[in-house]
């Protein structure tokens, strides 16, 4: 057992390793993202902003993290 176990997840199609036990908010923080400016989908389900602090990242999770950009 490692002292610092990591999980393997997908973020916007790219594999990433993150520490075990992070909330989604904390993961966003580690990525340098402001949770107020993005929307998060986890395994094809929307994660409401109100629960980003509570939901823990699990091994194998696939996240889509989006925001608004210019478009017509």
């Amino acid at each position: 057992m490692s002292d610092n176990p990591t999980l393997v997840i997908q973020v916007n199609g790219e594999p990433r390793r993150v520490a075990d036990g992070l909330s989604i908010s904390a993961m966003l923080g580690e990525l340098g993202l402001d949770p107020r400016k993005v929307a998060v989908e986890r395994n094809l389900e929307i994660v409401p902003r109100s629960s980003l602090d509570e939901v823990a990242v699990a091994d194998g999770d696939a996240f889509e993290i989006v925001h608004f950009v210019g478009g017509g």
Binding site: G13, K37, A39, H67, F68, V69, G71, G72
Partner: protein, 263 residues
């Protein structure tokens, strides 16, 4: 003697939200966010369309649209540009609702990349699902009065027929069908796509449309900020002409100066 005809401001309402500007502008294709913001300002638009895309994880400090166009002052209308199935469009708008926190959205489901023509079967399917989920979709569609009616029955809060293919700047290709859609609709009708210059915008408004939505015509003008002003004026001119009621066309001349008293 003659009191002004319209003492109330000329507004329009979509899904219970009232706006003064009848011009909706896109926020794509600009050289910079600064130019984009200046063009939005010059256009007088109160609504801008925005796309929903993955954040750039490798560079999260990139400037963001929301830093330049304030969503508290300008209504963001998230779109589903780039979606070719109802499923993709619905997924995108669920994310948009979470990102923005509102239900007013622009639905477009495209049929093919070459023409970006709407796929009406998928569009109708997506409209039904979105309405069930509490969305208020303004729907990009073909210029077909029957399809427009079906969308309205499905709960579309605005009907947005194309004037010509997206980004083509060809101007309104079928005035007859746009006019038929306007006559038949009980929700706002906005021409979305195809406008190339200010007279196209005026033409849409003269047909009785409630508004016009455009992006490329402004963003790809040599001077986008100046073109944004032109579009604002075009939309207003067309709207006023529609309200004023144009003269009947004649086949031959009719002199404007009196014939009586000619020397």
């Amino acid at each position: 003697m003659n009191a002004p005809q319209n003492l109330q401001p000329d507004t329009w309402t979509v899904a219970g939200r009232t706006f003064t500007s009848r011009l909706i502008v896109g926020t794509g294709k600009y050289k910079s966010l600064e130019e984009n913001a200046a063009a939005v300002e010059a256009s007088g638009a109160e609504i801008v369309t925005v796309a929903v895309r993955r954040v750039n994880i490798s560079d999260p400090s990139q400037p963001m649209l929301t830093d330049h166009i304030d969503p508290k002052r300008i209504t963001y209308l998230p779109n589903t540009a780039g979606c070719f199935t109802a499923e993709d469009a619905i997924r995108t708008l669920r994310l948009a609702r979470e990102a923005g926190g509102w239900n007013l959205v622009k639905l477009e489901v495209l049929g093919e990349a070459k023409t970006l023509y709407p796929d009406m079967r998928e569009t109708l399917k997506a409209t039904e699902v979105l309405v069930k989920e509490g969305f208020e979709p303004m729907v990009y569609c073909v210029d077909d009065p029957i399809a427009a009616k079906q969308l309205e029955e499905a709960g579309a809060v605005a009907i947005m027929p194309l004037g010509a293919p997206i980004g083509s700047g060809l101007g309104l290709q079928n005035l007859v069908t746009i006019r038929l859609i306007v006559e038949g609709a009980n929700v706002p009708v906005l021409v979305d796509a195809g406008v190339g210059t200010a007279s196209d915008a005026a033409e849409a408004m003269e047909l009785g449309c409630d508004g016009v939505l455009m992006n490329t015509a402004i963003a790809e003008a040599k001077d986008p900020v100046l073109m944004a002003r032109a579009m604002k004026a075009g939309v207003e001119a067309g709207r006023l002409a529609y309200l004023a009621g144009r003269m009947q066309k004649r086949r031959y001349a009719d002199p404007s100066s009196p014939l009586a008293g000619l020397i």
